[in-house]
C-alpha cells in the first residue's frame, strides 16, 4: 500500500495555525535554556559537568531517567507498533521496564559507591586502560546509533508539522540540542529531563481524558486503565489482537523468540551508558536505590497512558469509517490525529511539545554519554596530563563534534535506521553488559576475558545482523533479524563463555601475572565492605555454572529459526 500524502485522510492531519505549536515549543525551549543557564554557575568541575556534582535526588532522577528512557518513540513509535505487532510488542516494551531496576541492582549502586563517571571509568579501574578504551569506543558507537534515530525523528516532527525542509529542520534541531547540552552539562540536563518527563506525561494524560470522554469510554478519567471497555472494538478491528502465539513478519513467536527478546531488550539497555550515568548522578547510594521506585511508578503510568491512544485511535477510526484508509505506519501520528479531532490546536501544540520533550531528553543523555566517554575516559586511559577545566572544555567540544557528526549522517540516513536503536541494544547486551555485571560480582574475571568478550560480542552481532553483512545471518528474517534478536541468541552466550573461559585460563598462565587478589580492595570498596583482608566474590563456581548454562542457550541459538 502506497503511503498516503498529507491531506488524503478524512480528518485534520496538520496545523491550520503553525504559530501555535511554534510558540508552545518556543516557550518550553526558553524554560530548558533558562534552567540550563541558571544551573550553569554550578558547573565548576568535571564532577559537575559529567554527573551533576552527584546531587540529584530520587524524585528528580526517577523522572529524568524515565524521560531519557522513553524517548520520542513513546509518542511516535509505540502506538503504531501496538497496532502492528500487538501483544508481543507489549511484552517487548514491558521488558524495557526491567532495565533500570536491573541496572541499579546489578551494578548501578556499586558503581555509584565507587564514584564512576561512566561504565568505561569503571572498566579502567577494574580491567585497565585497554578495556577502558574498548568500552569508550563501544559507548560512542552505541550512542551514535541511538542518537541518530532521535535526531531524525525530531527533524521529521518539524518537517511534518511546520512544513520545513528536512535539512533545515535537522540543522535547527542539532543547534538547539547541542546548545542546551553544552550550556549546563548533566546538571541542567538532569533537571530539564525531569521537567520534560512531566511535560510528556501531562501532554499525553490530560488530552486523552477528553478524547476518551468524547469517545464514550466509561473510564475516561484515568486513561492508563480506563479504556478497558474499548477492547471489544479492538478485537473487532483485529480479531487476533489478544491471541497467543501470533506471527511476526513470518516468524513464529515462540519460547525461543521470547528468550532472545529478553537478552536483547532487557539485558541490552542494562549496558546503556546514558541510563547508567543517570544513576551515578544520585546524591548517594540510598538515593540511587530509591530512584527505582519513582522510575517504575512514573514510567508505568506514562506507558499505560500511551497504550490507550492505540485503542482510542482504533475505535475512533471505526466510528468515522476510516479504519481501512489509514496506513498502519501512520498510527505513529495517532496521538496528534486524535487530538486534532477532539481538542483544539493549542492542546495539540502542547502534545507536540511533549513529543519534542521526549526526543530531547533522550538525545541529551546520549550526547553527554559520548562527551564523557571521549573527554574523560579516553583522556584518562592515555594518562594525558589534562587539567579539570581543560577536561570540561573537551566535554563541550565533544558534544559539538557529536552533534555535527550525527547531523551529517542524518542528512542521508542509512536504510536500517528505524531499527538501529533496538539493534544497538543487542550490541550492548553482548559487548557491554556481561563485562560490567560480572566485573562487579566476581573477582575472577579479568582484563583478558573482558577484552576478548567485548570484541567477540560486538563482532558476532555485527556479522550476524543483516545491516553490515547481509549475506551472513543467524537464521531469522524480517524484523527479528533486523533487531538482532536471532543474533543475540548466539552473541550473548558466546560473549559470556569467552569472558569466563578466557579469564580462568589467563589465571593459569604465569606470564600474564593475573591474580584475583589484586581486585580485592576495589571489589570491597565498590560493595561497601572494609578492606579487612577477607576474600569476597572470589569463587569460580558461579562463573562455571553460568558458563555451563550458556552452552544449551548457544546450541538453541544456532538451530534453524
Amino acid at each position: 500500500m502506497e503511503a498516503p500524502e498529507v491531506g488524503d485522510y478524512p480528518f485534520q492531519e496538520t496545523f491550520d495555525m503553525v504559530l501555535i505549536p511554534v510558540l508552545l515549543i518556543g516557550i518550553t525551549f526558553v524554560a530548558y535554556f533558562g534552567i540550563s543557564w541558571y544551573l550553569r554557575s554550578k558547573v565548576t568541575s568535571t564532577d559537575d559537568y559529567m554527573v551533576a556534582g552527584r546531587t540529584i535526588g530520587p524524585f528528580v532522577n526517577g523522572s529524568a531517567i524515565s524521560a531519557t528512557w522513553e524517548s520520542l518513540a513513546t509518542f511516535m513509535g509505540v502506538i503504531a507498533l501496538m497496532v502492528q505487532v500487538q501483544v508481543p510488542f507489549l511484552a517487548i516494551w514491558t521488558n524495557f521496564l526491567l532495565s533500570i531496576p536491573l541496572i541499579v541492582i546489578l551494578y548501578g549502586q556499586t558503581l555509584r559507591r565507587l564514584g564512576s563517571y561512566t561504565p568505561a571509568t569503571f572498566c579502567k579501574e577494574r580491567y585497565g586502560n585497554v578495556m577502558s578504551v574498548v568500552m569508550a569506543l563501544l559507548i560512542v558507537f552505541v550512542m551514535l546509533m541511538y542518537a541518530l534515530g532521535q535526531f531524525i525523528g525530531l527533524a521529521q516532527i518539524a518537517e511534518i508539522l511546520f512544513g520545513w525542509d528536512y535539512n533545515l529542520a535537522l540543522a535547527a534541531i542539532v543547534i538547539l540540542v547541542v546548545g542546551y547540552v553544552v550550556i549546563a552539562g548533566m546538571w541542567g540536563v538532569s533537571y530539564n529531563a525531569a521537567l520534560q518527563f512531566w511535560l510528556m506525561l501531562t501532554a499525553a494524560f490530560f488530552p486523552m481524558m477528553i478524547v476518551l470522554h468524547q469517545l464514550g469510554s466509561a473510564g475516561w478519567f484515568f486513561p492508563p486503565l480506563g479504556y478497558g471497555d474499548l477492547t471489544t472494538e479492538m478485537t473487532d478491528f483485529d480479531p487476533g489482537f489478544f491471541d497467543v502465539n501470533p506471527e511476526l513478519q513470518g516468524v513464529q513467536i515462540d519460547l525461543r523468540w521470547y528468550v532472545a527478546m529478553f537478552f536483547a531488550m532487557a539485558l541490552g539497555p542494562i549496558g546503556m551508558p546514558h541510563l547508567a550515568q543517570r544513576i551515578f548522578t544520585s546524591r548517594n547510594v540510598k538515593a540511587a536505590q530509591r530512584t527505582v521506585f519513582w522510575f517504575i511508578f512514573v514510567s508505568a503510568l506514562m506507558f499505560a497512558t500511551v497504550y490507550s491512544v492505540a485503542f482510542a485511535g482504533v475505535l475512533w477510526l471505526e466510528q468515522i469509517g476510516a479504519s481501512e484508509e489509514v496506513a498502519l505506519a501512520d498510527f505513529d501520528k495517532m496521538i496528534f490525529y486524535l487530538n486534532f479531532a477532539f481538542n483544539n490546536e493549542i492542546v495539540v501544540g502542547y502534545v507536540v511539545a511533549g513529543a519534542v520533550a521526549g526526543g530531547l531528553s533522550t538525545v541529551s543523555g546520549h550526547m553527554l554519554a559520548i562527551s564523557a566517554a571521549i573527554a574523560n575516559d579516553i583522556i584518562e586511559a592515555f594518562n594525558l596530563d589534562v587539567t579539570d577545566d581543560r577536561k570540561t572544555q573537551f566535554g563541550y567540544l565533544s558534544v559539538v563534534a557529536a552533534g555535527f557528526i550525527i547531523g551529517v549522517i542524518a542528512l542521508s540516513p542509512p536504510a536500517f535506521l528505524v531499527v538501529s536503536i533496538l539493534w544497538a541494544f543487542a550490541i550492548s547486551a553482548a559487548a557491554i553488559t556481561p563485562v560490567i555485571v560480572l566485573g562487579v560480582w566476581s573477582a575472577r574475571v579479568n582484563r583478558y576475558g573482558a577484552i576478548a568478550s567485548s570484541i567477540v560480542g560486538f563482532f558476532t552481532i555485527l556479522i550476524l545482523s543483516p545491516h553490515a553483512f547481509s549475506s551472513i545471518g543467524a537464521g531469522a528474517e524480517g524484523l527479528t533479524a533486523a533487531l538482532g534478536i536471532d543474533a543475540i541468541m548466539i552473541g550473548f552466550p558466546l560473549a559470556m563463555l569467552t569472558l569466563v573461559i578466557v579469564s580462568l585460563v589467563a589465571e593459569q598462565i604465569d606470564s600474564l601475572a593475573v591474580d584475583p587478589e589484586d581486585n580485592r580492595a576495589l571489589i570491597n570498596e565498590m560493595h561497601g565492605y572494609p578492606d579487612d583482608g577477607t576474600e569476597r566474590f572470589t569463587s569460580a563456581v558461579p562463573l562455571i555454572i553460568l558458563a555451563l548454562l550458556m552452552l544449551p542457550i548457544l546450541y538453541w541459538g544456532i538451530q534453524p529459526w
Binding site: N95, I105, Y227, D229, T231, D254, V285, Q289, D532
Partner: protein
C-alpha cells in the same frame, strides 16, 4: 532457607539477594509472556484479558513490591552488617559514609 541465609557470609547473602531480586523482577514481567505462551487465565480485569492487564499494570505493580522487599533487605540488614564489619575492622566510621562524601 531462612536458617541457611542466617549463616551465610554477608557478601554471599548480598549476592543471593541480588540474584533472587533480579530473578523475581524478570519473572513477574515474563509472567505475562508465559500466559500468552502456555494459555491465558480465562478472566478479565477492568475489561482487559488477564495477560494484557498483567503486562500493563499487574507486572509493574509486582515489580514495585518486589523491589521494595529487596531494598529493605539491602539497605537495612545487609547495610547494618557492613557497618558492623567496618567498625570492627578499624573502629572508624562505616564504609558507606566514607564514600561519595555523604552519609547514606
Amino acid at each position: 532457607m531462612g536458617i541457611a541465609l542466617w549463616y551465610m557470609q554477608t557478601h554471599v547473602k548480598e549476592a543471593a539477594a541480588t540474584l533472587l531480586g533480579a530473578g523475581a523482577l524478570i519473572a513477574v514481567i515474563h509472567g505475562g509472556i508465559w500466559f500468552t505462551l502456555f494459555g491465558t487465565p480465562d478472566f478479565e480485569v477492568l475489561g482487559f484479558p488477564f495477560h494484557y492487564f498483567w503486562l500493563v499494570a499487574g507486572g509493574p505493580t509486582a515489580m514495585f513490591i518486589i523491589y521494595w522487599g529487596y531494598y529493605q533487605f539491602i539497605s537495612r540488614t545487609i547495610q547494618d552488617e557492613k557497618d558492623a564489619m567496618a567498625t570492627a575492622a578499624d573502629g572508624g566510621q562505616p564504609v558507606g559514609v566514607q564514600e561519595g562524601g555523604e552519609a547514606e
